[in-house]
């Protein structure tokens, strides 16, 4: 538990690591806007975007495996948007049509397939591919098998636009998530915090105290490992008193969580009280001016990176204007 890394920072050495966190955050925003600027009609441009990202990963020495790990939780969302588009987008020329035959026996076979999938998926490593295989199997069954009396038939029509837009949205999500993963992989949480504070400075004019927010984030970062440790200790203490955290019905689970949460709350309040005392005793005054040990330095690398990302933004705006 002690070694949980927040923000998934992976130490490394490349130009991405040497960049000022402010640059990285601003460039991320600029590039995200650029991705959203690309119109649907020019969806081939997404390949250019993907190519640029691959180049970034390559010269930034970010392992593609790490980026994939960042994308993995998103797989189901991607699949869902794609399936959604295919089912409901009915514009553009037809590409392919399947006849789906519904009969009681067909439905029985499908139920069997789903049950089989539910029971076997825990043994399969590539869960995502297994899910896609199941969906394909269901469609094939409906299309090919005509067992028993058929009470309804439907057409599954795939339109060109559905495929295109589904693909387009998928690419958009992939690019955005990859870009943010690159940011969190290459920036220490503390640097990220400093960068965010600097970038959000204009919010001061809206009377939002960014320095205090940065202090809050930095203290949370510092106390996450301590609190995880504490939670671990409480869980062990409760386990030694007979609480079983791994099994039980929903009602038992709720009780188990309460037996963890209540002491955690009390301890955290006590901790924050003592921490507040310690901070005040060391002359901390909320909102007062402070000098900073960590200062950010702008280098030529930052100028180059920022100019590059702005050029990409202008490029995508140009594509939008032309199409």
């Amino acid at each position: 538990m002690k070694n949980i890394v927040i923000g998934r920072y992976i130490p490394g050495n490349s130009f991405l690591y040497r960049m000022d966190p402010r640059t990285k955050i601003i460039a991320l925003i600029v590039l995200m806007v650029a991705v959203f600027m690309i119109p649907r009609e020019a969806f081939e441009m997404m390949f250019v975007g993907l190519g640029l990202i691959l180049i970034l990963l390559l010269i930034g020495k970010i392992s593609i495996k790490r980026v994939y790990l960042g994308l993995r939780p998103l797989m189901f969302l991607l699949l869902f948007t794609f399936v959604f588009q295919i089912l409901f987008n009915k514009t553009g020329p037809e590409l392919q049509a399947w006849t789906l035959n519904y009969s009681f026996l067909n439905i029985a076979v499908i139920v069997a397939i789903v049950v089989f999938w539910m029971y076997t998926k825990r043994f399969i490593k590539a869960k995502f591919i297994y899910l896609i295989l199941m969906i394909i199997a269901i469609i094939t069954v409906l299309n090919q098998l005509t067992l028993g009396p058929i009470f309804a038939t439907r057409q599954l029509v795939v339109h060109e636009d559905a495929l295109m837009i589904g693909f387009f949205i998928m690419m958009r999500l992939i690019i955005i998530v990859t870009l943010s993963t690159v940011l969190t992989l290459s920036t220490k949480p503390t640097d990220l915090n400093l960068g965010l504070e600097a970038v959000m400075k204009p919010l001061k004019y809206l009377r939002i105290n960014t320095e205090e927010m940065a202090m809050i984030i930095s203290i949370s970062l510092r106390y996450i490992p301590t609190l995880l440790d504490e939670a671990n200790k409480i869980m062990l203490a409760q386990a030694s008193r007979g609480v079983d955290f791994s099994e039980g019905k929903l009602k038992d689970k709720v009780m188990q969580i309460i037996s963890l949460l209540v002491p955690m709350f009390i301890i955290s309040f006590k901790r924050s009280d003592e921490l507040a005392n310690a901070m005040e005793a060391r002359c901390f005054v909320p909102g007062a001016t402070r000098t900073r040990l960590h200062q950010l330095f702008w280098s030529r690398l930052d100028t180059i990176s920022l100019v590059t990302s702005i050029i990409i933004l202008i490029g995508s705006i140009a594509v939008r204007v032309v199409t």
Binding site: K2, P189, T190, S218, I219, L221, R222, P225, T226, D229, R271, E274, L275, N277, A278, M279, E280, A281, R282, C283, F284, V285, A288, T289, R290, T291, R292, L293, H294, Q295
Partner: protein
Amino acid sequence: MDIIQMKNVSFEYQQDQPVLENINLNIKKGEWLTILGHNGSGKSTLSKLLIGLLKPNQGEIIVDNILLSRETIQDVRKHIGIVFQNPDNQFVGVTVRDDIAFGLENLQVPRNEMVERIEKYAHKVNMAEFLNKEPHNLSGGQKQRVAIAGILAMQTDIIIFDEATSMLDPKGRKMILEYMKQLNAEGVTIITITHDMKESVLSDRIVVLKNGKILKIDTATNVLKDQETLEKSNLEMLLPLKVLRYLERENIADEKVRSYLWQLSLKR
């Protein structure tokens, strides 16, 4: 010269339940003073009053010729540093370096000087090689040393140790006591708050506190001799003195044994 003066100080959290009553205490510059008391004697409250975390209901506190009040609280805090009991709950920075810097940032010390001071005082508490370490990779004793460095870097002339060693292992405790001795020798006024007799022996004077009242203020030797007071305040006697007491009761303590056991208990 008295660096701290407390005049008729009283404090209560709830009405008619005084935690401290009529405390009169003068602490000399460069002195090492122990505030000794059992749990609930009000000794931690006393330290919080000194650093302005609590406001006395009555009386006045003068630190370095500054009368402690709402307006002067920040000035007073520049003169007093405090090391608290729990090493985890006073570590503000994400790394050792950040934590030592925290007080300096608050004092608006320029960055160049900050870097210098961090190096200097981290060396002083032998934590220089740990500057980039995170708190959860440090032991309790190491965290307390960082806390000391953080206060030294602020260059205060008084340091309060509020049961700073009570959560440490014997090795960590010994080390912190060593730093206390060293700092006191360098002229820092030290106030230790403890219920441990062994620690109090090191100091110049001991204040014995019970139920919010001062029972006795005297040198360490005299307080140790005053068994009546110690018993009254529920404090555990030092082992050699306990032995001496049994021997005296059985009438088998000769002068040699007596002086040896005293020597043993007053060993610094």
